[in-house]
Symmetry: C2
Subunit: 388 residues, 2 copies
Amino acid sequence: MSTLVTGIAELVTNDPSVGEGPLGVLTDAAIVVADGAVAWVGPGSAAPAADRRIDVGGRAVLPGFVDSHAHLVFAGDRAAEFEARMSGARYDGGGIGTTVAATRAASDEVLRGRLRGLVAEMRAQGTTTVEIKSGYGLTVEDEARALRLAAEVTPETTFLGAHVVPAEYAGRTDDYVALVTGPMLEACAPHARWIDVFCEPASAHAFDGDATRTVLTAGRAAGLDLRVHANQLSAGPGVRLAVELGAASADHCTHLTEADVDALAGGSTVATLLPGVEFSTRSPYPDARRLLAAGVTVALATDCNPGSCFTSSMAFCVALAVREMRMTPTEAVWAATAGGAAALRRPDVGHLRPGARADLAVLDAPSYRHLAYRPGVPIVRALDVPDR
Amino acid sequence: MSTLVTGIAELVTNDPSVGEGPLGVLTDAAIVVADGAVAWVGPGSAAPAADRRIDVGGRAVLPGFVDSHAHLVFAGDRAAEFEARMSGARYDGGGIGTTVAATRAASDEVLRGRLRGLVAEMRAQGTTTVEIKSGYGLTVEDEARALRLAAEVTPETTFLGAHVVPAEYAGRTDDYVALVTGPMLEACAPHARWIDVFCEPASAHAFDGDATRTVLTAGRAAGLDLRVHANQLSAGPGVRLAVELGAASADHCTHLTEADVDALAGGSTVATLLPGVEFSTRSPYPDARRLLAAGVTVALATDCNPGSCFTSSMAFCVALAVREMRMTPTEAVWAATAGGAAALRRPDVGHLRPGARADLAVLDAPSYRHLAYRPGVPIVRALDVPDR
């Protein structure tokens, strides 16, 4: 069964060979979807026949957002911590323990309900691929449970046992790392594609370079690919480790030395920026222009989580990237789609070339520029194209 | 016909005599609506009977947002100007001429469609009262048309003939002021409650203190109440004029002297802050804390318009107020509801005391704090309570 989508005022393909600029923009375009994949894109006047037709009435269409960094398996609420932080309390990752306690105490049904609610909320805002991390269980059973639940809704599951050192291991980081790389990894690897570490020597709760290397190396040996929470609160070793070990992405990249930027520019690791975190922790934003000038591949993601950033809106992150990081609307939209796909090493999403997954987002607006031009307004949603 | 709304995890009444703090918060509350007005508020366990029942399932309910500053009668699109500004072009109000040309050229049907679309978009985001200005017509006929259209959707209509000096009056500001205070005012006053002036000596396009006084005085003589675009781009005379003339609100207040703050503190004029404008023009934010410390009544509004700020989201303005202006979530929510009502001198909205209009907003969240805690996420909508 094929579907022809017409009335597309502006189609972002992310394929520069078929349209204008880096986003490969076609105007007055159409797209044909068949069997869940893009079968054809081109001018509306040249559209082939299809079994069914959806007219979007002069709206812009783009690849669904690829949110490559989110923490969606949790219970509890940290609105009070947020309020205290806005009154001056500093963010150092310590509040994660609050969510760990609530998550451990929650039933599968509660966790599944919250998780599915957030994934649906994201889809209603145009996100069609989302990576989901564990990291609020921090026991063998609770981490494995989080990943089992995450795997019900996405293939992009990330084992983040090394999120923080849980309270019961305070002062015994080595013992906790042994747990993470031993029985916890064994229980979690079957449910995960990725392994991740919160590498942050500046936080008493997170992991230093040595521990990060130990965890990532063990994860790789268990068949997982690598990503790293790197350089969020200080210019630690995370980014260089990520590049050295061939991680798909170094996430945050808020505090970078010249050596960090050089490493990213010389490697294949994507720099994933999470400006919602800087918004919600009132911190300085990463220097996106410096990374772009160095030729680094930049992705944008939400980091949706109950502590440091509880937004699920990629559009909001695009608006912040333009306002606060001086990315152009073009760069920001690319980073939120193709950039996210690069950070997840997913050649099938983040663009609309024939063969891509038929993950479309539609705007209540004539141009992708409106994602930054209309901040906070819910103008983007995933377009449901029925498959049969 | 009466309706009982139950399952309210947190009810913001803005009546400190019935609940906690300045927002008068009740937990596990209920509310009865009858004949379009609030008939009763109190604990859910004490709720009286009613003809019908709506259960909001553990959500927070607050008074619908009162957006006291918006420009919604226009045609055209200025996404390209926005993009240029984000690349470094400065905002000085000059782009308004683009919208004036498009608006004059548009049919009533086009303008009405855009206007109603934006009002519906606002309502879908929790705004139940909106002020709407003219100011993109700038001829007798086009200004009167804008106000006729605005009056179809709100009683809060504002004649803003003195928005900018139109191109055909360039260098002849006095002649244009004579038009505004003469035939234009005569044609517009029957459709308007308010008169407003963009008082900004720093802009070549706007009006100085003398012209502002002339227009406001004429407007008052024609039976209109006063509001002023004041001190947006520089510390001009707008705020002090607003207070001297007893305007309901001085809007923007971005650049204030001590004398301006003293004037506001000693008068009855509300300071309406529009942080979406500073977001979308990449400008420094107003100093809300200084105003609050001086005892000034502060409102938040969107300034929704196609040039300097095309957001329609009061929730986004609340999040900005907290992040960028260091208002507490409590202060920001008050300013977006009761503050807006004060800026429009509307005792019937912005609170949920018995007798208030039954304008309710409901959150997909348990607390009003989530408006700032979940930036960019569309968690708030107006609650439809059928009247009969």
